[in-house]
Symmetry: C2
Subunit: 567 residues, 2 copies
Amino acid sequence: MTPSLVANGGVAAGEAVAAPVTGRVAAVYSEVQSSRIDHALPLPSVLTKPFKVVDGPASSAAGNPDEIAKLFPNVFGQPSALLVPSDSDSALPQQKLKIGVVLSGGQAPGGHNVISGIFDYLQDRAKGSTLYGFRGGPAGIMKNKFIELNSEYIYPYRNQGGFDMICSGRDKIETPEQFKQAEETAVKLDLDGLVVIGGDDSNTNACLLAENFRYNLKTRVIGCPKTIDGDLKCKEVPTSFGFDTACKIYAEMIGNVMIDARSTGKYYHFVRLMGRAASHITLECALQTHPNITIIGEEVAAKKQTLKNVTDYIVNIILKRADLGYNYGVILIPEGLIDFIPEVQNLIAELNEILAHDVVDEGGLWKNKLTSQSLQLFDFLPEAIQEQLMLERDPHGNVQVAKIETEKMLIQMVETDLEKRRQEGSYNGQFKGQSHFFGYEGRCGLPTNFDSTYCYALGYGAGALLHSGKTGVISSVGNLAAPVEEWTVGGTALTSLMDVERRHGKFKPVIKKAMVELEGAPFKKFASLRNDWAINNRYISPGPIQFHGPASNALSHTLLLELGVQA
Amino acid sequence: MTPSLVANGGVAAGEAVAAPVTGRVAAVYSEVQSSRIDHALPLPSVLTKPFKVVDGPASSAAGNPDEIAKLFPNVFGQPSALLVPSDSDSALPQQKLKIGVVLSGGQAPGGHNVISGIFDYLQDRAKGSTLYGFRGGPAGIMKNKFIELNSEYIYPYRNQGGFDMICSGRDKIETPEQFKQAEETAVKLDLDGLVVIGGDDSNTNACLLAENFRYNLKTRVIGCPKTIDGDLKCKEVPTSFGFDTACKIYAEMIGNVMIDARSTGKYYHFVRLMGRAASHITLECALQTHPNITIIGEEVAAKKQTLKNVTDYIVNIILKRADLGYNYGVILIPEGLIDFIPEVQNLIAELNEILAHDVVDEGGLWKNKLTSQSLQLFDFLPEAIQEQLMLERDPHGNVQVAKIETEKMLIQMVETDLEKRRQEGSYNGQFKGQSHFFGYEGRCGLPTNFDSTYCYALGYGAGALLHSGKTGVISSVGNLAAPVEEWTVGGTALTSLMDVERRHGKFKPVIKKAMVELEGAPFKKFASLRNDWAINNRYISPGPIQFHGPASNALSHTLLLELGVQA
């Protein structure tokens, strides 16, 4: 490779780009980064030899199949595709391909390897093909901003964290005009295929593109399951990439904080973990580290708990621990906790109404406009949170729920409750809360061996699916508890993951988020152990992710439990 | 080993302990924790063979030697001790020893290995000796709370983070009564020696104990240099243990955040790093990761900078970067920044006076009592910080400086400044700040290979010093850039690190904190590169600490530069 070339971006063609292209230079890598570049990426054996695609039975939808069928007349009902060994590749077209790839939404460790996988597939099986990387997410497709990826440019990104090879974005291709722009780009670049690497929304979008292109374009569209949140999964797609690495990074830090808590003996650490819509990250980190208290949003919602219920639960464990002489502990809280509590949602809706239309008087008369339940909740909230709700608004004047630091809020509520009990004489322990938010530290770490290999297979498999003429499917790599050679590779109809939601009087297709299942093996294991963890200190410190030696190839607990491999 | 024994604490003797003893059970370790237990700990070759102690020239003090000599008539002026190979150990007394060990102050990775080192020395060279671990820090000495350490109890803590083997505490042995209590414990346990593992304060305390015991007790006292802050060091003690591991953990997270910043392209991450009195951690993390902006407290103090100067410095770089199309970046801030800014100290002193004696009227007339400089600064501060200064007080009614989240304060000040410039038309970039505080995550991580080995040598060496009859010295392991076999082992007179401070009309001995030297090699290297890092993105992501393979034995940049090994 030529570092100077890479330093200049190694860029070919593409329209003028606004942001400077910052290709990576391996020479300024840390030793660990450098050593990762050449980390071997084994492929499932079906991808190392001639293969053919076998179709399964026709698929349906996750809900409302009739509506989904209407929304996706071209791609609905497609069978799952499975790659199986073949005598020769002769069934595959002997042509050069032009493929585009785009990263969509928040970063997840391993994204670069998906791209490497697609690229290597094309090099290995469709020589002379071209891979375009759309820059800055879906906007790159609409604005036709891209770079042509070559091996020199891609090389330093192998097994590296981040999405900076082509960057990402949160734009969506939604309006007819935007679909037209995407179509124009596909025509201009003569695309045979497009790989969309993203979460549930982006894969819904990928399916809409597939449907749309199917009318009059040769461009096929394949999705790839990305999200550290772990909420894009199904039978055929056992996990989304990045979840493994992010959880291990958070678990490392939680483990360190646990040992700190035990050594100092005087702090309760409230750790909020990224993951707004689902609590998979929190659950996985709990299974890895055994905290004293873990709040799972889905359980709070299912049991229709109030904020006071959650506070009481925490306080009760703190009281029990104080009796045992433990005035310390570690508590995990999912980022999206507030969204799971209906009464909080009601309060916020009422506040938004009041703030939009009424005068908020200092005397507090405005509060009479709240329903009694909301008023009670408002008065229960710590003063700082009350102020935050009233003062910090987004540009539309709405309360900024995402800005509420749930961990600090809970600390204050627990503190107030314990103080009351102290005055009543029922508590004489010491309580000091420390707050943490672990999020950005985990989205761009160097991918674990699992995520590195899994992503490479997802990308290589996506190449194979495109080459085989598939569209509207999500790259699916399975049998993950087995050695890599035995992993299965195929594609699952995106429509089979979909349901409809009614928005503005219209049906909108959505891939159903995979929430934490209270009847699923991971939650059940957690639920069977949490009372023990609450009282006895069963802390486990996973330590830093290792790329060699013990534990370097361990899978997440969630995955192992869902696959039925771990009891 | 017998896990059940360990689960019960493996405790022998000692007075009744208030908190339950939570000995570790290797069986509930993570794979990485387990694998670390048997990680080999090589010793400097002088410790593997018969040795004798060679004394250097008499020592003096770091300042005011006459006063130090008066304060330490018994131990002042001691020569440095160096262990050298000998034909036989015959010069060492052939007796069983009774030794106590105590952990003092905040956790630092490697503390358990110091204890393992002392224990193994006694096993190897003074068979039949006894090691008492005082529980909960210096209070354990005063209250005679201890456990007798045996190999079964110690074993699971080898190469593990935390201080939970015997826990730590922040009490000091200061008053004549407290010294008497310590003396009583030493007599009761018939102690031949005591090892104090701690920072600058604790080692000052160790020296006072050594001085005190010298009058009428056989108990000798040896210090060990502990602190993640890195501010306890001198020529003979090149680094304090824990600094290496903590910085690597923080640098891992900073590196991840950098790649996130570059991938997203829309956030400035303000990262506050632990280290109140000195900025070594921030400097080391900067050298490891190359952030866009790094604030070093010692430089701010030396240049007598104001908070506005610091804000201007940050804003100017943000403006330059916006011109280049970069609306993102990473900024490192030392935890103690505010303490380095004289005007802030003045304001806080004035506020404490006013709040103690005057009525704070809503109209703001009270502000007239501020000096004009302080008034100007107060008005410059973001509203939230003003409120925090006025409202949050400690039990003595003082402003709680430590609670100020400097990173959030700077974000608000930068935001305000940029908004002004936007309205003036001189800035049209996007600014979004994200705040982080990295602290508790780094104090109890699994020690790096360096800290593991260094601590073991410090402890083993402390055993040798006690055995040789030394007192009032700090265990000193040097030549650290060489292979472990060639490391030097000895002791440095604690009085030689001391100066006096005048407090309440009396001279008080203090070990001078090692601050970041603006003429030192680490700062000079940083200063020569920071302008490049500011504008060009030279981010380096060190990745997770590895215990095997590349980089697993790397030393900190600070140490290498101070040793003159790295240019």
